[in-house]
């Protein structure tokens, strides 16, 4: 039995707005085990990003319980439990790629020598070796997003939270990055939480797919993937892949995602 990293029980989060309360999350139960690649899929407003932000302690639940590594999300964050990748790369334009990756390391008080070693290591992991001294604008969108993944990996958190990281990229770049992400996941054995609204992306990447639906934000289905760990891009044409994709679509339909 593998160890549980994230455990959510009957989690509620209600935003109070001028138009009345919005139930971003209602009664969410979920366990994520160490080494899982979990995708959250669903239409806008289903709470997938909110759930990721609750794990990261960027939002706080209004009901229920959640633990990250057996601690509250706030404690877990102070213990550097996770690296977070946002929808946009958000690299500081005035820092080089190396400087951007050093940003969390500086804040966390690593020594200069450690910083340099870690920068080199993670740049190699995301296939950007040699780009350390370049400024962000000198890199393509896909490369910038890879640099931002490197930044999230730099301080060796076991958990990687990714909020639609490839949403703004074109499909060809996206395919390539998906492939690379799987390789990186296999090499680093991280636990990954991945928000997306692309069904093929969710099926291709995940060991566990969490299907969510809006109003109120809730989980309608949790699918354990039967695909092997080794996944070439053309696995997406196999019947097994299409079966899982079909089940995801059914889950979305059951949650009235298409209404």
């Amino acid at each position: 039995m593998s160890e549980t990293v994230i455990e959510a029980k009957n989690l509620d989060l209600t935003f109070q707005t001028n138009d009345g309360p919005i139930h971003a999350l209602k009664g969410v139960d979920l366990n994520i085990n160490k080494g899982d690649f979990v995708s959250f899929i669903g239409p806008s407003g289903c709470g997938k990003t909110t759930f990721l932000r609750v794990i990261a302690a960027l939002e706080h639940p209004t009901g229920g319980e959640i633990t990250v590594n057996g601690m509250s999300p706030d404690e877990a964050r102070r213990n550097r439990a996770y690296g977070y990748v946002f929808q946009a790369a958000g690299l500081y334009p005035w820092r080089t790629i190396g400087g951007n990756i050093k940003l969390p390391l500086e804040i966390m008080g690593y020594s200069k020598a450690d910083q340099a070693a870690k920068v080199e290591k993670v740049l190699e992991l995301v296939d950007l070796a040699g780009f350390e001294k370049k400024f962000p604008w000198q890199l393509s969108g896909g490369m910038q997003q890879r640099a931002s993944i490197a930044r999230a990996l730099a301080f060796d958190a076991d958990l990687l939270l990714m909020d639609e990281p490839f949403g703004a990229l074109d499909e060809i770049v996206r395919d390539h990055l998906n492939e690379q992400l799987l390789k990186l996941w296999a090499r680093t054995e991280k636990t990954i939480g991945f928000v997306t609204h692309s069904i093929p992306e969710a099926v291709y990447l995940s060991t566990k797919i969490v299907v969510m639906s809006p109003r109120p934000g809730r989980i309608t289905d949790v699918i354990e993937s039967t695909l092997p760990k080794e996944r070439p891009l053309d696995i997406r044409d196999t019947p097994e892949f299409l079966d899982i994709a079909h089940r995801v679509r059914e889950g979305l339909r059951a949650g009235h995602a298409y209404d």
Partner: protein
């Protein structure tokens, strides 16, 4: 068709055209404005002026309503370059001397104003109470005509024994802090929610957020504000010289010029002030380019 003019020439030509047009308008306006005096003088002496004599006269009067460019430039040369050649660059008749008086007040005021502006902006961004309370006062301060408040500043400071450079610098700071406050508040608030969230995921402190994100993000806004603030500082320093009957500084030159109808002297002081302002703003632009280049701006 092949290009006959080089890129550099092509960009200089429109500028020269505009300058030539301004000079032409200036000279012809001088004929109209100074013509009445010339004709009055001629009538008194019971002679008639031919057109060419009239024009020559309007361009060479000693106290014209509107001095022409070569008179202003001549005066400017007489009070700067010529004084330097005579080794009297800092005599009281030299514009370099008066320019330096004004420049020193401008620079001191600029430092005061910029410092105060940045500190206020940091306070406004980090403190809710300051956000609510300081901005309305800063805006109110700029609605008071500087000419009304300048004499009071000088009188009040004089009563507590502060004279000379500092009161002028304070008037100059009074004008220059405002663009810096507005620009820096905007700049320090320019990081978006995502960039702030990113630092939150590292559990970064407020001061780390300030030094690593807010301050670098505000640099382009700061330099824009500094350029406006520098020009405002110069205006403040000149205004600070007017109500005190000062005898030194560019403002004093304008004032004494107007007492004695020395229009050429007024215009040459004006031109000197303009050249000074342009150079100061130019220096800031140069520092800005260097700085932003070091911060990875596209070149």
């Amino acid at each position: 068709m092949p290009m006959t003019s080089s890129g550099r020439f092509a960009s200089v030509l429109p500028i020269l055209t505009v300058v030539a047009a301004i000079v032409a308008i200036w000279y012809s306006a001088a004929i109209g404005m100074n013509g009445k005096w010339a004709r009055d003088q001629a009538a008194r002496a019971e002679i008639t002026l031919s057109t060419s004599e009239l024009i020559a006269d309007t361009w060479s009067q000693e106290r014209p309503v509107l001095p022409v460019p070569h008179q202003v430039l001549g005066e400017l040369w007489k009070t700067t370059g010529e004084m330097v050649l005579k080794g009297r660059a800092f005599s009281k008749r030299s514009l370099i001397f008066h320019g330096w008086i004004t420049l020193s007040a401008t620079l001191l005021g600029f430092v005061f104003g910029t410092g105060a502006g940045i500190l206020l902006a940091v306070g406004i961004v980090h403190n809710k109470a300051m956000d609510m309370s300081v901005m309305p006062w800063a805006i109110a301060s700029q609605t008071i005509p500087i000419l009304a408040i300048a004499p009071m500043i000088i009188v009040v400071l004089n009563s507590i024994g502060i004279q000379g450079l500092v009161p002028k610098a304070i008037i100059s700071a009074y004008l220059s802090f405002f663009p810096v406050v507005v620009g820096m508040v905007k700049g320090l608030r320019s990081p978006d929610a995502m960039q702030l969230d990113l630092l939150k995921t590292y559990s970064a402190s407020g001061s780390e957020t300030f030094w690593k994100l807010r301050l670098p993000s505000s640099m382009p806004y700061l330099f824009t504000a500094l350029k406006i603030g520098m020009a405002a500082s110069l205006v403040g320093a000149i205004v600070g010289e007017l109500p005190t009957g000062a005898i030194r500084g560019l403002g004093a030159r304008m004032l004494t010029g107007s007492y004695y109808g020395q229009t050429i002297q007024i215009w040459s002081a004006l031109l000197a002030a303009a050249i000074l302002a342009a150079s100061l703003v130019g220096i800031i632009s140069m520092i800005e380019r260097r700085m932003l280049k070091r911060m990875g701006a596209k070149t």
